[in-house]
Every structure is written in C-alpha cells, then in structure tokens.
C-alpha cells in the first residue's frame, strides 16, 4: 500500500505553520505507526515547515508513505542556502527577529531534522530555493 499527501505552505504565514505536520501526525496515528517514529517524523517535518515559513516565499511538501519507509520532499522558492555545512551547524542562523520572537530561528532546525531522520539530503540554489529529502525507515 502506498499513500501520498501534498501540502502547500506560504512563507510568512506563522498562524498556519505546523498544519502539514499536524495533519501527517493524525494520518500516521490512523495507520498505527509506532508513536516513537511518529514523533521523529513530525518533528523533522515541523522544523522543515517552519523553515519555509521563516525563510521562503512559498513551498511544497510531498509525503510518500510506503510499508518500509516514509519519504518527505520539501521544496521551496526562496533565498536558498549559501553554505549548507554552516547551516547544519548548531547556532548558525539567518532568521529574522520576527521568527526569533516566535521561539524559533536559533539555528538548530536543520541539524534537528538530521537527528530525527535516517537520511537527509539537501540541495540548494542561492536565489532560487531549497529542496530537502527526508527519509525515515519504518522497519
């Protein structure tokens, strides 16, 4: 069985940030996914969602659920990441004051996504946008 979900995210819309992660969490509960895995998956997605809201103009999230793994593709139209290695370092951040006032933007998101997944691929083009591929094994 294969399921697919798509979400569209608007940059700057903090009130809706987390909607996709929340929706996915409910779906994963319904199909009886291990709660520990659900937490890892939705935290990674929530961090990615916040990144779109905080940094990009807009973005798309595509979730593919297969029996053996969940693959989440997060792509945005935005400024891109100049130095991915640096962006992966804890504490490095380009977030605005507005984002920091929301309790985010501390420069921990990407490394926390990595810590909560089995595989994270990042491709980014400065001035165009960023694509994350987040893979979580279910078995």
């Amino acid at each position: 069985m294969m399921m697919e979900f798509n979400y569209e995210i608007n940059g700057g819309d903090f009130s809706k940030a987390g909607f996709a992660s929340s929706n996915l969490k409910k779906m994963l509960k319904q199909i009886n996914t291990d709660p520990k895995l659900i937490k890892r998956i939705v935290i990674a997605l929530y961090e990615a969602e916040m990144n779109i809201v905080a940094h990009a103009y807009d973005g798309k999230i595509k979730v593919k659920i297969a029996p053996e793994q969940i693959v989440i593709n997060v792509s945005d139209r935005g400024p891109g990441i100049e130095d991915i290695d640096k962006a992966m370092e804890d504490g490095y951040s380009t977030a605005s004051d507005e984002v920091r006032e929301m309790g985010f933007g501390a420069g921990m998101g990407l490394s926390n996504i990595k810590n909560n997944t089995d595989q994270l691929d990042i491709e980014s083009t400065v001035g165009k946008g960023t694509v994350l591929k987040i893979v979580t094994k279910l078995r």
Partner: protein, 116 residues
Amino acid sequence: MIKMKVDEIIKAIGGKKLCGESCDVEVSKAFSSDLMSDVLTIQTEGTLLITGLANLQAIRTAEMSDINCIVFARNKKVTEEMIQLAKENDIVLIQTSCSVFKTSGELYKAGIEPLF
C-alpha cells in the same frame, strides 16, 4: 520517581487550568524554555513544559513533541485560538502569575525532576 497530576501542579504553583478538564495527565519531569527550537530536541515522555512564550507555535510544538501539559508563566495571555488547538490535541494548559524561575523552583521542590 514522583508522578504529579494536573491538580497537584496547580496547587503547587497557584495557577489555573485553562483547558483539558478530561485529560488524565501525569508528569514526573519538566523543561523550562521560551525557545521552541530547544523543546523540539528533548525527550518528552511524562514531561511538563514551562514557558513564557504564549503563542500558537508553543501549542504546535507541544503537539509535535507529545507534550501533554504546558504551564504559561508570568501570567502570559493565552488566546482562544491557542486553547482551541490545545483542546483538539488533548493538551492541558495552565496559567500562573509566577515567573518561570518560581514555577520551576516550586515544582522542583515538589519532586519534579529536570530532564538534564
């Protein structure tokens, strides 16, 4: 390890419950932070979140992290929208006039353990 119920927490810090009447929540540990990025990195089983950050993302963070009780310190205003989202996710919200420091101190005294 001590297990505290919501009513016991409220008694210890002099707070009030904003929602979660029917939630049967017990906590043994607590984490105090206004930085949700940090909250997203912790172990959260049986953990209470103490924060002075009152916005929708604090509730979302709790939802994603499986945190089922939040104490808003410093009498921070909790909006109807936040309460609604908490109710949908069976999260108990408590408001107190105590500071984060005092809230943490009183609960520590009562036996609640730090995460680290």
